[in-house]
């Protein structure tokens, strides 16, 4: 290993592997040592215990033998004394022998010899004066009887002088008349024996007689106190003859120490020698042994830990070196060389590592070279690609530019084409001065037709150019869908009828709704589809179907235009929507057109988020499906359903007709308002003064008081909260309106009352003003209507209609003046009706109303009145037209200035056909 790696190793803390090894070794060593020690201690404990018990038993046996010898010695001395033949010794000699025996045996306190009859011959005592030949009769004494009976007598232990244990011992002499020698033995001398018996250093041996009386004890004094041990269980058991327990008995001794006890029996006497060793001393060697073993265990363990530490270190250091080497190789330091010198597999592994690192180094070098090569190649390729990309980008920019140029060119060209075309068309119109013959007129018509086609073509190109340039943006607003579709249908119907085709319109009731969308674009698409159908159908019918479907929070208009025309081959079904494409080349020849109509239609549809598709079979007609999503309009007025009132109103209903009252009340109730009925003007005024009302529905024709007058009176009450007064009348004539306006009534509900009208009238914000108010304020034109129409038809169409109206109305005005002058009432009424009708188309309401009035009153008017009316009507007409010109004037100017022909195809239904060239 190189130098830095070595330093690393020495610095790292003990690794997990090291700890694992260490713990394992230590645990193993500990387990082995602990088990060994435990077993050793256990066996040694057992052995020691056995040994101890055996030793103690031997001691007891030895003590028993000594005591037995002690008694046996006295016994044999007595025997020696008793077997001296009596005839050989005088009594005095006998005394001397007894005195000699005293010297031998200090334990003998007194000796008496009895002849065969039990008479005392000699009595020698240590305490008393000796007696010789007293002849005292002791034949009945137990000692004499016992000795005579069995040759030897061991008397019971008795206490002489209250404290000294004594025993009587008697032996029978030899010969025909054997004498009996009786000795009193002081057992205190056994004390010398038991005191000499060493039981450990603190153990004791003591002697108990057959009755359990303590005879001898090393402490002496317990024996002197007549200590009776017969109550102790072990003494009882021993006296009963139970052999001592092999392992000794653990019990409490006289001084309440725990001792290990055993005993032995003194053979001839039946006494027991107890040997007791305090447990603390008895087991001291065992405890010492355990302590030694524990110390050894700890020492061995320490050694084992040290060994484990060294061994673990020896094992883990190379592994750590390997790990770190691998880590450094992993981190890319391939120059590393591991120097493991363990002379085993680990060293081999280290060498393998080094070989691997070397291989890696070589591979790495090769790889780097290859990478460098590849990088160079890639750089080259990238430069190449970048160059290509730049070229493509340039090409694309050029193409875009070219396309824009094209569009600009198309627009410019189209516009520039239009100007001369307008001139041509104008001249063509001027040419027909009535002096032309049939052939000339036909030529002129052809020329005019071609011109119009040309204009339409240019317009189409212009629009396409705009779409292409993506300058078209949707102009969305709310509009009535049914109106739009009907208007479109009506616009195209004359063309179809003119070609002898049946035209069917099938509108679903769902169309009767206000929607939000781009009506102009939608109208254009519809007109295009219908126009195409008319164009490519020679006979049969054209059917327009439309329905509005609810789609989540939006609406989807589905319309289909079906014809019985030439049809389209299936291969062309998609192509016909492409630019400048027609079903086949012959189409252009046969039907003309630019091939832009359907392309524009599809683009517009898609712009609106919808689509146009076709299904068709050549020869049997085509069906174009249009699907356009439209927005939902919150306003419910158009839904034809009474909506909930914004708030409950207090309404005073004034009507003299009870039926009307009832109906009115019911309607108000249904609309959620609270109604109060007044049956005449007077009571109405009275009720209005009593209670506060939000609205007063006033019938105008009442027997006592005119509604207008009643309204005026209510106003004069100067109520804190002035109620809105709505007139209910069948008379919506101008006079009536003017009169009502004067009385402060600015709203009229026609009779019979329709619930929707009533609802509208009640809900209308008075501040916003109503239709009636606007009209009553002297407005000549219903601007809202006009703007609706404008949305529907487009400004150009309106302008055209406007021109048409100017022409027509002038003619009609002249006719009316003429009829009035001629007092031709019928003609007057007819002309007035036509004028009114024409005026209504563009929202000239005042003119329309005036015409209505004249039409109605024509029959009853005087001639003067008729003329006056005619003049007034003409004045009103001129004023209205002037106002109309003022309203649409700006757009007319704009149309002629900008891209005037874009909407031209809708201006004249007759020219819409050019859009249909692509259809088969």
């Amino acid at each position: 290993m190189n130098e830095p790696a070595d330093q690393d190793t020495s610095r790292t803390p003990p690794s997990r592997l090291f700890r694992k090894y260490l713990y394992s070794f230590v645990a193993l060593a500990f387990a082995a040592l602990a088990v060994n020690t435990a077993l050793e201690v256990w066996f040694s404990y057992r052995e020691q215990q056995q040994l101890l018990a055996a030793t103690q038993r031997e001691q007891a046996a030895s003590a028993a033998i000594q005591i037995g010898q002690f008694i046996g010695q006295i016994e044999s001395q007595l025997r020696w004394l008793s077997r001296l033949p009596p005839d050989l010794s005088a009594q005095e000699d006998e005394r001397l022998n007894a005195i000699r025996l005293f010297r031998l045996s200090p334990a003998i306190a007194e000796i008496a010899t009895l002849d065969a009859l039990g008479r005392e011959q000699v009595r020698v005592s240590r305490r008393l004066a000796d007696k010789v030949g007293s002849q005292a009769d002791l034949a009945a004494s137990p000692a004499f009887l016992g000795a005579r009976a069995s040759g030897i007598y061991y008397g019971p232990v008795y206490f002489f002088g209250d404290t000294e244990p004594f025993m009587t011992l008697a032996v029978l002499g030899g010969g025909n008349d054997p004498q009996v020698t009786v000795a009193e033995v002081n057992l205190r001398f056994i004390w010398d024996l038991v005191a000499r018996i060493k039981v450990g250093s603190t153990g004791k041996a003591y002697v108990v007689d057959r009755k359990g009386q303590l005879i001898a004890h090393p402490d002496l004094w317990p024996a002197l106190r007549h200590t009776d041990l017969s109550g102790r269980p072990d003494v009882q058991a021993a006296l009963a003859g139970t052999p001592p327990a092999a392992g000794g008995l653990v019990k409490d001794d006289l001084s309440q120490r725990r001792v290990l006890s055993t005993y032995a029996t003194v053979p001839p006497l039946g006494w027991l020698v107890f040997v007791e060793l305090p447990i603390s001393e008895a087991y001291a060697p065992i405890y010492a042994s355990i302590g030694r073993s524990t110390f050894l265990l700890v020492a061995m363990l320490a050694f084992a830990v040290l060994a484990a530490f060294l061994l673990s270190r020896r094992m883990t250091v190379p592994i750590q070196m390997l790990t770190q080497g691998a880590k450094r190789i992993g981190s890319g330091d391939l120059s590393l060389r591991l120097a493991i010198r363990t002379n085993d597999e680990l060293e081999a592994l280290g060498d393998q590592f080094n070989v691997m690192a070397a291989h890696l180094r070589d591979s790495y070098a090769t790889l780097e070279r290859k990478v460098a090569e590849r990088t160079a190649e890639l750089e080259k390729a990238r430069d190449h690609a970048l160059a290509e990309h730049d070229a493509a980008e340039r090409a694309r920019n050029a193409a875009v530019e070219a396309n824009e140029t094209k569009s600009r060119f198309l627009a410019v060209v189209s516009h520039e084409l239009r100007t001369p075309l307008n001139g041509v068309m104008g001249v063509l119109q001027l040419l027909d001065d009535g002096s032309l013959n049939e052939a000339q007129r036909r030529h002129l018509a052809t020329a005019a037709g071609s011109g119009e086609t040309l204009i339409a073509l240019v317009d189409a190109i212009l629009e396409y150019a705009r779409l292409e340039a993506s300058t078209e943006a949707l102009e969305t607003r709310d509009f009535r869908l049914d109106q739009l579709i009907q208007t479109a249908a009506e616009l195209m119907r004359p063309q179809a009828v003119a070609k002898g085709l049946a035209f069917e319109l099938s509108c679903d009731a769902s169309l009767n709704a206000h929607v939000h969308g781009d009506p102009v674009r939608l109208n254009r698409v519809l007109l295009n589809l219908i126009g195409n159908a008319v164009k490519f159908t020679a006979k049969g019918s054209i059917t327009l179907k439309a329905a509005l479907a609810q789609q989540q929070d939006a609406l989807l208009l589905r319309a289909s235009v079906a014809d019985t025309g030439i049809g389209i081959a299936s291969a062309m079904h998609e192509r016909i929507f492409e630019d400048f494409v027609q079903a086949d080349d012959s189409i252009a020849r046969r039907f003309g057109g630019t091939g832009l109509g359907l392309a524009i239609a599809r683009r517009l549809t898609r712009l609106m988020g919808g689509d146009v598709t076709v299904e068709s079979t050549p020869g049997s007609g085509s069906v174009f499906h249009l699907a356009v999503p439209l927005g939902l309009v919150e306003s419910a007025t158009s839904q034809g359903v009474p909506r909930a009132p914004s708030r409950a109103l207090r309404v005073l209903l004034v009507d003299d007709d009870p039926v009307n009252c009832e109906i009115g009340e019911a309607m108000l109730g249904r609309l959620g308002h609270h109604a109060v009925i007044a049956t005449d003007g007077a009571s109405a005024v009275e009720r209005a003064s009593c209670a506060a009302f939000d609205v007063i529905l006033m019938d105008l024709h009442m027997p006592d008081m005119d509604g207008v007058e009643a309204a005026a009176r209510i106003r004069q009450l100067r109520l804190q909260q002035t109620p809105r007064i709505i007139a209910v009348t069948a008379d919506v004539s101008r006079n009536a309106r003017e009169r009502l306006a004067g009385a402060g009534i600015n709203k009229i509900v026609g009779k019979p009352i329709l619930i929707k009208n009533l609802c509208d009238a009640l809900e209308d914000d008075p501040q916003e003003g109503s239709e009636t108010a606007r009209l009553a304020a002297g407005t000549l034109i219903d601007e809202r209507f006009l703007s609706d129409q404008k949305e529907l038809l487009g400004a150009q169409q309106i302008a055209k209609l406007c021109e048409l109206l100017e022409e027509t109305s002038e003619t009609l005005a002249t006719d009316i003046a003429r009829a009035a002058a001629a007092d031709d009432r019928a003609q007057l009424a007819k002309c007035a009706h036509r004028l009114g009708s024409a005026a209504s188309a563009l929202g000239l309401v005042r003119l329309f109303e005036a015409c209505n009035a004249i039409e109605l009153a024509a029959a009853s008017m005087s001639i003067v009145e008729c003329r006056t009316a005619g003049r007034e009507l003409d004045t009103l007409r001129q004023a209205s037209l002037h106002a109309l010109a003022g309203l649409i004037g700006p757009e007319r100017e704009r149309t002629s200035a900008g891209a005037p022909a874009v909407q031209k195809e809708a201006r004249q239904p007759g020219r819409a056909g050019f859009l249909r060239e692509e259809a088969p």
Partner: protein, 347 residues
């Protein structure tokens, strides 16, 4: 032992850890010395002999047989080292009742742990003075009769000890005296009624009984004045042949030299109860062997055994000592039975 050492420490409220440490340390120290670990005990002795008597001199050549030195030796064997944990105080009652009283006062003032007495007189005086301090008597002939103990086996009170003779011994003395000097016809029994057990009557019965069976005249010779000794003994000189029996009496022990001298001077054979008399030239003595085991009892008492639980020990060996020189001086021929019985014959 640890418990005993803890007692004086407990009121100081030594915390437990310190106590254990201290107890362990002191115990270890005392074990090292082989001695009892607590305060120095006081062992007091009240003796009848004057303090100047050789028998009370510890360093005397005879000290091995003196009671006090035997006690000290026995105590040392049992772990009581003089000056370390035990102190011996000796007081003498010699000189009359006043001196005895003073000695007893002094001893009680020492607050001894145990009091040793030498004879019946001192024992009686001390048992009257204290019922709490343990008393061990060395020689009391009749402790039950004197009221020192309830019984020999279970003394019961604060007194125990050792007896050295029994009443029957009187007959034995007369028999042995007659064996040594068979010619004796009259025998005087010497005693001081003030110091002898039961004023001398304790032994007289057995002596008179033995005298009656042998035809010897026995006369009690009470004496309470040392100056009258010579005179008294002289009364048994000459014919008919006389003899002397000295009873167990501290007075006689104190005046042993005068008695022995007078007996030798007036050629009166005498028998004594203790070997002290032979030591100063007396003819013969017979009495209990002085197996001094008082150290055993003192040790037990100092270690907490009640004196009343320790039985009174009786003698088990009797010794006959004969001074052959004295016998020759008296012209006595000692018979075989006597010589066979003698434990020691001094030449």
């Amino acid at each position: 032992m640890i418990g005993q050492s803890a007692r004086p420490l407990a009121p100081v409220a030594v915390d437990r850890r310190n106590f254990i440490r201290l107890a362990g340390a002191s115990a270890a120290g005392w074990f090292a010395l082989g001695a009892s670990p607590d305060r120095v005990r006081v062992v007091a002795s009240l003796i009848g002999l004057p303090l100047g008597d050789p028998l009370t001199n510890r360093s005397a050549p005879e000290s091995a047989t003196s009671r006090l030195s035997a006690l000290i030796q026995g105590m040392t064997e049992r772990g009581w080292v003089e000056g370390v944990n035990v102190r011996y105080e000796t007081r003498s009652s010699f000189g009359g009742p006043a001196q005895q009283e003073a000695a007893i006062r002094e001893i009680l003032a020492l607050k001894p742990d145990v009091i040793l007495t030498s004879s019946t007189i001192e024992t009686a005086a001390l048992t009257a003075a204290t019922k709490t301090i343990p008393i061990v008597f060395a020689t009391a002939n009749d402790p039950v009769g004197n009221g020192f103990v309830e019984s020999l086996a279970r003394p019961g009170g604060n007194v125990t000890g050792f007896t050295n003779s029994t009443a029957e011994m009187g007959g034995k003395w007369l028999q042995l005296l007659r064996e040594a000097a068979p010619a004796i016809e009259r025998v005087g029994v010497l005693f001081n009624p003030e110091t002898a057990p039961r004023a001398g009557r304790f032994f007289l019965d057995s002596i008179e009984s033995e005298a009656a069976s042998t035809g010897v005249t026995v006369t009690p010779v009470p004496i309470n004045d040392a100056t009258g000794i010579d005179q008294t003994i002289r009364g048994y000189a000459g014919a008919p042949a006389g003899g002397m029996i000295a009873l167990v009496d501290s007075f006689l022990v104190i005046n042993r030299r005068a008695i022995v001298t007078a007996a030798a001077q007036h050629r009166v054979p005498a028998i004594y109860p203790f070997h002290y008399f032979i030591d100063v030239g007396g003819l013969m003595s017979y009495g209990a062997s002085l197996e001094v085991r008082s150290a055993d009892y003192v040790d037990l008492i100092l270690r907490g055994t009640r004196a009343g639980d320790l039985p009174v020990q009786s003698p088990r060996k009797y010794e006959l000592l004969i001074n052959r020189k004295a016998a020759d001086a008296l012209g006595l021929k000692l018979p075989a039975t006597l010589l066979a019985r003698a434990d020691e014959i001094r030449e």
